[in-house]
Amino acid sequence: MSIEKGKISSQQLLFLIAGFVQGSALLIDFAVGITEHQTWMVIIAGLIITAPVVLSYVLLSKMFPGMNLIQINDMVYGPFLGKAVSLYYIFFFMMTLSFNVRDVGELYMTFLVEDMPFVFLLVVFAATCAYAATKGLEVLARISHLFVVSGLFVIISNFILLIDQMDFSNFLPLFELPFIRIFQGIHIMSVIPFGETVVFLMIMGCLNRTELAAKSTFFGLLIGAVSLLGVAVRNTAVLGKTQTIWTSTSFQSIRLINIGTVLTRMDFLVGIAQTVLVFLKCSIFFYVLSAALGQLFGLKSYLPLVLPIAGIEVIIAATVFQSPVDHAMITQNAGIIYSVPLIFIFPLLSIVIARIRGLPKPEGGKEA
C-alpha cells in the first residue's frame, strides 16, 4: 500500500529530525531582524509551543500504523477532500523546498563563489539532493547522524573559537522589545525550523518500532533547538547591536574569528556545515515530496518523479523571488501564514476526526 518499503529505526528518526531542524540554522536570520537580542528566547518559546504539536504528529501516525500522510488524509477526509488536503501539503512541500534550495544558492552567491551563475548553483544542488532522494529513505536515515554530529561539531567549535569576542551583556536588557515583535518572532520560529517537521508525517509510518517514536521525536527536536540556540546565542554575543544589519549573521560572526594568525578566515567551516545541513533538510523534503506525489498518483515507485521534480524546484527557486529582499519579505510574511493550517490545524483535526469516526476501521479484506 505505502510507497516506501524501507524501515527506519527510532534512533535514526531522532537524527533525521535533529538534522532537519539544524538545517534551518541559517533561517533564524529571518527572526533576528525582528527580535534582535531576544532571539534566543524566541527559539525556546517556539520549541515549547511546537513540541506538543509535533508530538501529536507521532500520535497521528501511531493511530494509522504504517501509513503516510497522503494515505491518512485519504482515510480521514475521504477520497476527494483528502486529495485536496494532500495537494495543499504537496504545494507546501514544494514551495518550502524551493525556498531552501534558493537559500543555499544565495549563501554561495553572497559569500563564497560570488561570480558563479545562480542557476548553476541551484541545478547542481538540486541534482545532488535528487540523487539523495533516489537513494531512498533508508540511506538518508542511515547517514543522518553524521550530518548532525558534524553540525554540532562546527557549532561548538565556532562557539569556542569566538568565546573571547563574546560580550554577554549584549543580551541585556532581557525584556525590551514590544510583545508584538516577540510574537512575530515566535510565529516565525514555530513555523520555520520546528513546524516544518510536519514532513515527518510522511516518514513516521516507516518506523520499525513505534514505541520510542515520541521520545526520539522530542529529543530530535531538542537537539535541533539546542543547535539553533547555540547559533543564536553566539551571533548575539559576538555581533551585539550590529546583528540586525548583516545579510547572514552566522557568516559574519565566523568571519570575526581571529586567533593568532592561524585560526582565522574560517568561513569555509560554516559554509560546509550549512551546506551539509541544508542538504539533509532539502533531501528529506525532496524525498517526501516525491513520495507524496507518487502516493497521490498511485505509482509503484516514486523514482521516475525525482528528476522532473528537481527541474520544477530549480525553476521555482530561480524565478519566484526577484531578490533576497523579496525572499525574506515573503518568507517572513506570507510563507509562514499559509503553512499554519498545515502545521497546526490539519494534523490535530485529523486526530479528532479519526477519534470520532473510529478510524482506522479494521477493513478485513485489505488488512489480511
Binding site: 563564497l112 547542481v124 539523495a132
Partner: protein, 540 residues
C-alpha cells in the same frame, strides 16, 4: 562500398566464430559425456584421439598380477605428474608387489576397488566412470589407471607440481607479525589457514569453475560463526559465473561483487593467512582460487581498508594514532589537490595573508591556470608510479630519481610549476600510499574532485563529497552495509574504527557480519589484565 565490405567482414567474422564455437560444443558433448567401456584398447583409443596433438601425454600399457594375466594402462601428463611417485606408488606395487602374492590368493584385478584396496600405496584417489571426469582429472595432473575389463578408472592424485615456496608477500609487509604469505598453490593456502584455525567447524567447500581452466575455487568459513545466508549467497553468485577461464581471483571478484559500477571495491583481497584467519573468525568467508596468492574475503566494509593486521599485534595507543593518520592521509590523497585548487582559484580570501603572498610569489611566472598545473603534476606522478612499478627494480629507481629531479626541481626552476603545487602533489602522492586497499578508488576520486574544484570551487567539492557519501552509504557488500559501523551507527563496532580499543575491551564480534544466532562473544568478560600489585621479593 566500403560499408559493404566492412559489413561483410563483420558478418563473416561473427559467423566463423559462431561456427567454431558450435563445433567445439558438439565435439565435446559427443564424446566426453560417454561412460567408459570395459575394453581397455577402446578407452585408450578414445583418449588418444581426443588428446591427439598433445605430445606430453604418456600412455603406459603393462601387464600385471602374479601370472601377468591382467592388462592395464597408466595415462598421465608428463609435465604435470610426479614420475617418481608414479613409479614408487603405482607401478611398483602393481608390477612387482603383485608378483609376491601367493598363488592361492586369487584376486580379481579387473575390479578397480580390489586394486586400490590391496595393491596401491596411494591415498588420494578417485574412481571415475565417465570419460569427461577422466579427462578432467588427467588434465588436472592425476595419473589415470585403466584396467582391462573394468569400466571404471582410477584417478590418482599425485604430489603437487612445482610451486613457489612460502615467502613474505610483497604487498603486505609487516614489522611485527607472521611473515608467511599465500602462494599460487591453493592446497598450501588452505593448509596455511587450517594451521591457524584448528576447529571442527572450519569448512572448506570446493567449486570447480571455468569451462577451460577448471580452476579449483574454495570457500572457507567457520560454520558456527558465519551467517548461513552469506554462504548461500556466495554459492549462488559463484554458480552464476559461467566463464571460460579463471586466471586470478580478480576474475571472480568482478563477477560476484555487489556494485560493479562503483569505484569502491566491495570484495577485499589479501595475501596473508593471519589476516584471512582473523577475518574468518569474525564470521566472514574467504574465497581461495587456485593459481593466485590473492584470497578474496567477503563481506568487505570500508573501514577494513584502514585496518592492518599489525594494528592488533601492537599495543593500542600508537595504533590509534596511526589509524587517524591513515584516515587523514586518505583525505589528503583524495582532496589535497582539489582543496588547493579551490582555495587558490576560488576562495583566496580564506588563505592567510602571508601565505597568500608567498603562493602568489611562487606562481608569478607560471603560465598555466592552477587547475591545469594540478592535472599536469598529478599526471606526471601517476606516470612515474606506473613506470616505476613495471620496471625492474634498479631501473625503477632511476625513473624515480629522474622524475623527482626533472619534474620536481627543474620544472619549478623553469617556472612551469609553482613550488607550492609540487609540495601539494608530493604530499598527495605520499598520502596515497598509506591506505593501499583504497589506492584505486583514491586515485579516481582525486581526479573527480580536482575536476569539480576546477569547475565550481568549494561548492563543487562539497557536492562531490556529499554524493560520494551517499553512494558509500548505499553500497552493500554481501548484505553488510559498506560503511558499517559508522553508517548505520553501531557503538560497539566503533571501538575498532578511529581508535583501536584494547583487545580485551572488544569482546563482541562485528554484529553486522557475524551470524546473529552464533556466539556473539569472542572472549570471556572482564579480561582486562589485573596483575598482582605487590612486589615479588619478600624482603621488606
Amino acid at each position: 562500398m566500403l560499408g559493404y565490405i566492412f559489413r561483410k567482414f563483420l558478418f563473416n567474422n561473427s559467423l566463423k566464430s559462431k561456427d567454431k564455437y558450435m563445433n567445439e560444443n558438439t565435439d565435446t558433448a559427443g564424446s566426453n559425456g560417454d561412460p567408459l567401456s570395459s575394453d581397455l584398447d577402446k578407452n585408450l583409443a578414445v583418449i588418444k584421439e581426443i588428446l591427439r596433438d598433445s605430445s606430453d601425454v604418456t600412455f603406459h600399457e603393462f601387464n600385471f598380477g602374479h601370472d601377468r594375466r591382467f592388462k592395464g594402462a597408466l595415462v598421465f601428463i608428463n609435465s604435470l605428474a610426479d614420475k617418481e611417485e608414479i613409479n614408487k606408488n603405482i607401478l611398483q606395487p602393481l608390477l612387482y608387489d603383485s608378483l609376491m602374492l601367493h598363488n592361492t590368493v586369487d584376486m580379481d584385478f579387473t575390479q578397480i576397488d580390489t586394486i586400490s584396496r590391496n595393491i596401491l600405496s596411494v591415498t588420494d584417489y578417485l574412481k571415475v566412470n565417465l570419460l569427461s571426469s577422466l579427462l578432467d582429472n588427467l588434465l588436472a595432473g592425476s595419473a589415470i589407471l585403466l584396467i582391462h575389463g573394468s569400466n571404471e578408472a582410477l584417478a590418482v592424485r599425485l604430489g603437487k607440481g612445482k610451486s613457489r615456496s612460502i615467502e613474505e608477500p610483497g604487498t603486505e609487509v609487516v614489522v611485527r607479525g607472521p611473515r608467511e604469505g599465500f602462494i599460487e598453490d591453493v592446497s598450501v593456502n588452505i593448509a596455511l589457514i587450517r594451521r591457524k584455525i584448528k576447529d571442527t567447524d572450519l569448512c572448506v567447500e570446493r567449486f570447480v569453475m571455468g569451462d577451460k581452466s577448471k580452476t579449483d575455487v574454495y570457500i572457507v568459513y567457520i560454520r558456527s560463526l558465519v551467517n548461513p545466508k552469506l554462504i548461500e549467497e556466495i554459492r549462488r553468485r559463484l554458480n552464476r559465473v559461467k566463464i571460460e577461464a579463471i586466471l586470478e581471483s580478480g576474475y571472480i571478484e568482478q563477477y560476484i561483487e555487489d556494485s560493479p559500477g562503483s569505484i569502491f571495491p566491495t570484495v577485499s583481497n589479501c595475501e596473508k593467512p593471519d589476516k584471512v584467519a582473523a577475518k574468518i573468525l569474525e564470521g566472514r568467508a574467504a574465497i581461495l582460487v587456485d593459481g593466485t596468492p590473492f584470497v578474496l574475503v567477503v563481506p568487505m566494509v570500508f573501514i577494513e581498508s584502514f585496518q592492518s593486521v599489525e594494528d592488533y599485534y601492537a599495543r593500542p595507543f600508537f595504533v590509534s594514532i596511526i589509524r587517524i593518520i591513515r584516515f587523514l592521509s586518505y583525505i589528503i590523497s583524495t582532496l589535497g589537490p582539489a582543496i588547493y585548487v579551490a582555495l587558490t582559484v576560488f576562495h583566496q580570501e580564506l588563505i592567510p595573508t602571508q601565505l597568500l603572498i608567498s603562493i602568489a610569489e611562487g606562481r608569478e611566472r607560471v603560465p598555466f591556470p592552477a587547475i591545469l598545473e594540478a592535472f599536469l603534476m598529478l599526471f606526471a606522478f601517476d606516470l612515474l608510479r606506473e613506470a616505476g612499478v613495471r620496471l625492474p627494480k634498479p631501473v625503477g629507481q632511476t625513473v624515480g630519481i629522474v622524475g623527482a629531479i626533472v619534474l620536481g626541481q627543474a620544472s619549478v626552476e623553469a617556472g612551469l610549476i609553482s613550488p607550492i603545487m609540487v609540495i601539494v602533489v608530493s604530499a598527495t602522492a605520499i598520502a596515497s600510499f598509506a591506505v593501499p586497499a583504497q589506492t584505486d578508488s583514491g586515485t579516481v576520486l582525486r581526479y573527480i574532485y580536482l575536476a569539480l574544484a576546477g569547475i565550481a570551487g568549494g561548492f563543487g567539492v562539497i557536492m562531490g563529497l556529499l554524493a560520494t557519501l551517499l553512494h558509500l552509504a548505499s553500497l552493500r557488500s554481501f548484505g553488510t552495509p559498506y560503511l558499517w559501523p559508522v553508517v548505520p551507527l553501531n557503538l560497539a563496532g566503533l571501538k575498532d574504527v578511529f581508535f583501536r580499543m584494547p583487545l580485551w575491551s572488544m569482546t563482541k564480534r562485528p554484529t553486522a557480519i557475524t551470524w546473529d544466532d552464533g556466539d556473539p562473544y569472542n572472549q570471556g568478560p572482564g579480561l582486562m589484565p589485573s596483575p598482582n600489585t605487590q612486589d615479588n621479593s619478600d624482603s621488606q
